[in-house]
């Protein structure tokens, strides 16, 4: 088991290098660089200053040289500094000699995105698992049909549209929830309870909307897993033994039915750090989605690469965790691995 894990971890290194190489070159395939932003298209700004900026950030060098420079920094885990925001550190804070701390861009954006996504994932699971079980137990019954209908309505509603409607209903027509942002303007002067309440009321819509619209796939997963299991022989045996229906479903069937879910959760780990661009844009949340989108549009290469690298490392780690968790949960897989 241990050698298996070590082997998998070592394999991640060439994979990561390959991923970074591909992302770096794809990113440079898109025309334009940092000097082409809309603000620079101002007749008062000069062509010389743009050329100087390009030289400053080595953008005049061949792509392969730029990749080499990036790699040289990366091996010391230095994510570099952003172009677009005047050399703000990409990943973590730095302190200058006067003791002024400049926070890293990912450092600032990451916590809020992780909070939203983790709460969102938990809510999705809390809703999807019971719904999936009900749908499977009452397969083709009216409960199953209405759950499916509800899921697909949620799945088909464009998130931004639902967001705008709810923002209007809950924020403008009624004074129930804040419309956008993550803190009230008087946040600093609130009590700690007030702060928590304030944050939660701001996060309510951004968390609930993607959870509801994203319910469909996980509910279906649970449902089909459950249906498969319920038709297997050992369930028939359990029923034949005279066990109650609840014991059969929750003690015997559910565990096996949830196995595929491990893979899904493992795969959703990298998703936890990637914010939704549209929802962050609408709700004015300074998270990872907005950061990444802004960086791509501004051709802020160090930020794009920083997020992609962290994202791909997390994807690989997520896969690994899913595999290990699978082995832990399913003796058949475990034995296969040990051999």
């Amino acid at each position: 088991m241990l050698t298996y894990i070590i082997k998998r971890v070592l394999w991640m290194i060439p994979l990561l290098i390959g991923i970074s190489l591909i992302s770096f070159f794809i990113m440079h395939l898109a025309p334009g660089d940092i000097t082409n932003n809309e603000g620079a298209f101002n007749p008062k700004s000069s062509a010389e200053s743009r050329q100087k900026l390009r030289e400053l950030y080595n953008l005049d060098k061949p792509v392969i040289v730029q990749y080499g420079l990036w790699m040289k920094r990366m091996v010391t885990l230095d994510f570099g500094n952003s172009f677009a925001s005047h050399r703000k550190p990409v990943f973590w804070q730095t302190t200058d000699k006067d003791g002024n701390v400049t926070k890293g861009m990912i450092q600032e954006a990451l916590p809020i995105t992780i909070i939203i996504n983790v709460i969102g994932l938990v809510i999705t699971l809390l809703l999807a698992i019971p719904l999936g079980i009900i749908a499977a137990r009452k397969h083709t019954g009216w409960q199953d049909r209405s759950i499916t209908l509800f899921n697909f309505i949620g799945f088909s509603i464009p998130g931004f549209w639902l967001s705008l409607l709810l923002m209007y209903w809950l924020g403008v027509a009624n004074d129930w929830l804040p419309i956008s942002g993550i803190h009230s303007l008087n946040y600093e002067s609130l009590s700690s309870f007030g702060k928590i309440k304030d944050t939660f009321s701001h996060l309510f819509m951004p968390v609930i909307i993607p959870s509801v619209t994203g319910l469909a796939s996980i509910t279906l997963f649970v449902k089909s897993g459950m249906l498969d299991v319920l038709h297997q022989d050992y369930i028939t045996t359990a029923r034949a033994k005279g066990l109650g229906e609840n014991t059969v479903v929750y003690t015997h069937a559910l565990r096996n039915a949830l196995l595929p879910l491990i893979t899904i959760i493992g795969l959703s780990i990298p998703g936890l750090i990637g914010g939704s661009v549209i929802s962050e844009q609408i709700f004015a949340i300074p998270g990872m989605g907005k950061l990444f989108y802004g960086a791509v549009m501004a051709r802020d290469f160090p930020v794009v690469m920083g997020i992609l690298t962290i994202g791909s490392a997390l994807t690989l780690i997520g896969n690994l965790i899913a595999d290990i968790a699978y082995a832990w949960a399913d003796p058949r897989v475990r034995r296969g691995v040990v051999k």
């Binding site: 082409n36 007749p43 000069s46 924020g171 027509a173 419309i179 709700f283 549009m297 051709r299």
Partner: protein, 556 residues
């Protein structure tokens, strides 16, 4: 019964309008609870200090040193924190801000500024000509790479002989000089000397000299400014300015409707359809429209055939119905122009008329240029069809304008395709390489009439702004003369002549000069009425929010 009718009514409303979000929002509103806001905002009040003004920005500044940042959000914030030597007054004439007076030498090459006495930075240190000199050194220093250095690099010599005197000498008279000094924010030397302007902590915690100073900057959320008690220009009325960063205009508008922000800029739909249709909003908001110094245009690649032929350019100009674009795309909130200057200012030539919509004339001109209709109804010359591609960036108004142009040109036998491209690719793949037929774009310009960098033949190619490849020796001459002529009346003649020449050559077709649209909550009083030429925001330090109209729940 009444209930049923209500339901029925609601259902009908929904069915008819469900596909359009905004309209759907409106119908929902008619059933929603109105907010219980019974304050009468339209009563007059005497001027008084205090209160908080909240506005919204689409983007976040990258730095609060605007000569380095160069983007709109940064300029918007820093305009409240820093002062300039000169400023534009109400009627767009230049007057002193930090400078008490200035004098231009007889050879017109040297400008000597006298600073007002006893100026102070917000930290209490004196503001002197040494700060101005240092700011000039900083903006011209290659190491700092300021995008706006070029105006200041023309200064041959800058001196600060005593704390109240600052003088600059140009190698030849430079007419836009005063305008450039009305744009440069003076930075404190004692806090920035020896620092890297890009990475210094000052860029996020600046000390200025103007009406406000930075209170708090919550990254990605908001920037709070509070009144600077030692302001070089005297105190402002409003205590705090809060700029919330809300990147989505719909979300901004919802916040405005809910009364959480006091001002924002609107789009034509919001301005002329949504707000006027809602009495509740009308009671709370004042709407403003003002002409900006910018315009949308369709520009030809003059290096390509057949656009090198002035008859073709003129014909296309006649074939496009500009009023239709203004009415259809900008909902009437724009005007048809004939020169690249804001109408009503001295630089705009009142004798010039825009090309009227005249498809017959267009056909005649194209015939003269040798084009004949082929079997498919497309004009053709020497076997080559008159067919081109309009490219534009992903901007709704420009895309819609292109569609209207496409239809009008089809009617005279010109085949047009439209492509809309993301900005950075648009610039580097098409504009910089000159690989395009026709563009639909816009310029937003300053108040000085100098447009050397856009039209002079030396500014063609590469990364420069005359990317359409316009070159007319007469225009070149006029542009050169306009830069060295300091007498406003003579300068006016030069630019009137230049605009006339440009209109005849028609290297670009002026589509519309759009109005800048904004909404400000009626709780904000003291806004100049009627709007002065300098705009709604002129002298915003005199704005005030009367105590009974302030928000109650806000405490800082």
């Amino acid at each position: 019964m009444t209930n049923l009718a209500f339901l029925n009514n609601r259902l009908l409303k929904r069915n008819a309008k469900a596909s359009v979000i905004i309209v759907f929002l409106l119908s929902l509103c008619s059933c929603g609870k109105p907010t219980q806001d019974l304050t009468d905002y339209s009563k007059p009040y005497p001027s008084q200090a205090g209160g908080v003004l909240i506005d919204a920005m689409l983007g976040e500044p990258s730095s609060l040193i605007s000569m380095i940042a160069g983007e709109a959000p940064s300029s918007a914030i820093t305009a409240n924190i820093f002062n300039k030597l000169l400023k534009y007054n109400k009627n767009l004439d230049i007057e002193g801000e930090l400078a008490q007076s200035w004098q231009v030498s007889t050879d017109q090459k040297t400008i000597t500024f006298k600073l007002k006495p006893d100026l102070k930075w917000a930290d209490g240190k004196p503001l002197t000509s040494a700060d101005v000199l240092w700011t000039w050194q900083a903006i011209t220093d290659d190491k700092n790479g300021s995008p706006y250095a070029s105006d200041f690099q023309l200064v041959k010599k800058a001196e600060a002989p005593d704390p109240l005197t600052f003088s600059v000498t140009y190698s030849e008279p430079y007419a836009p000089a005063l305008d450039s000094w009305a744009g440069l924010q003076v930075l404190p030397k004692h806090l920035l000397e020896g620092k890297d302007l890009h990475t210094t902590a000052f860029a996020r915690k600046p000390i200025g000299s103007s009406y406000y100073q930075l209170d708090n900057w919550a990254t990605g959320e908001n920037i709070k400014l509070s009144r600077n008690p030692t302001s070089a220009l005297g105190p402002a009325n409003i205590d705090k300015l809060v700029s919330r960063i809300i990147p989505d205009t719909s979300a901004q508008f919802l916040e405005l409707m809910a009364g959480n922000i006091d001002s924002m800029s609107l789009d034509p739909t919001q301005f002329s359809r949504i707000v006027p249709a809602r009495p509740k909003l009308n009671e709370k908001l004042n709407l403003y429209k003002e002409l900006g110094s910018g315009y949308t245009y369709m520009g030809f690649n003059l290096k390509r055939k057949p656009f090198d032929d002035v008859r073709v350019r003129q014909a296309i100009n006649y074939a496009i119905d500009k009023q239709e674009i203004i009415d259809g795309v900008y909902l009437g909130l724009g005007i048809n122009i004939a020169s690249p200057y804001k109408p009503g200012t001295r630089w705009s030539n009142p004798n010039l008329q825009p090309y009227p919509y005249d498809p017959e004339k267009a056909k005649t001109l194209l015939k003269e240029a040798g084009f004949v209709l082929n079997s498919e109804g497309i004009l053709e010359r020497d076997g080559k069809a008159l067919s081109f591609e309009i490219i534009t960036n992903q901007n709704k108004e420009r895309e819609k304008s292109s569609v209207l142009i496409q239809r009008r040109l089809k009617a005279v036998g010109i085949d047009v395709k439209i492509r809309s491209i993301e900005w950075a690719s648009f610039i580097s793949r098409f504009i910089k390489t000159g690989d395009f037929d026709v563009v639909v774009l816009g310029w937003s310009l300053g108040l000085d009439p100098d447009q050397y960098s856009i039209w002079h033949s030396s500014q063609q190619g590469g990364d420069k702004f005359n990317f359409i490849g316009y070159g007319n020796p007469k225009v070149d001459k006029l542009l050169e003369r306009g830069r060295t002529e300091l007498d406003p009346d003579k300068r006016q003649m030069i630019y009137h002549e230049f605009a006339k020449e440009l209109l005849h050559d028609s290297p670009v077709i002026y589509l519309s000069a759009g109005y800048g649209l904004s909404a400000i909550h009626k709780r904000v009083k003291g806004i100049a009425n009627p709007i002065p030429p300098a705009g709604v925001g002129y002298e915003s330090e005199k704005w005030f929010i009367p105590e009974p109209l302030r928000r109650t729940e806000m405490s800082y």
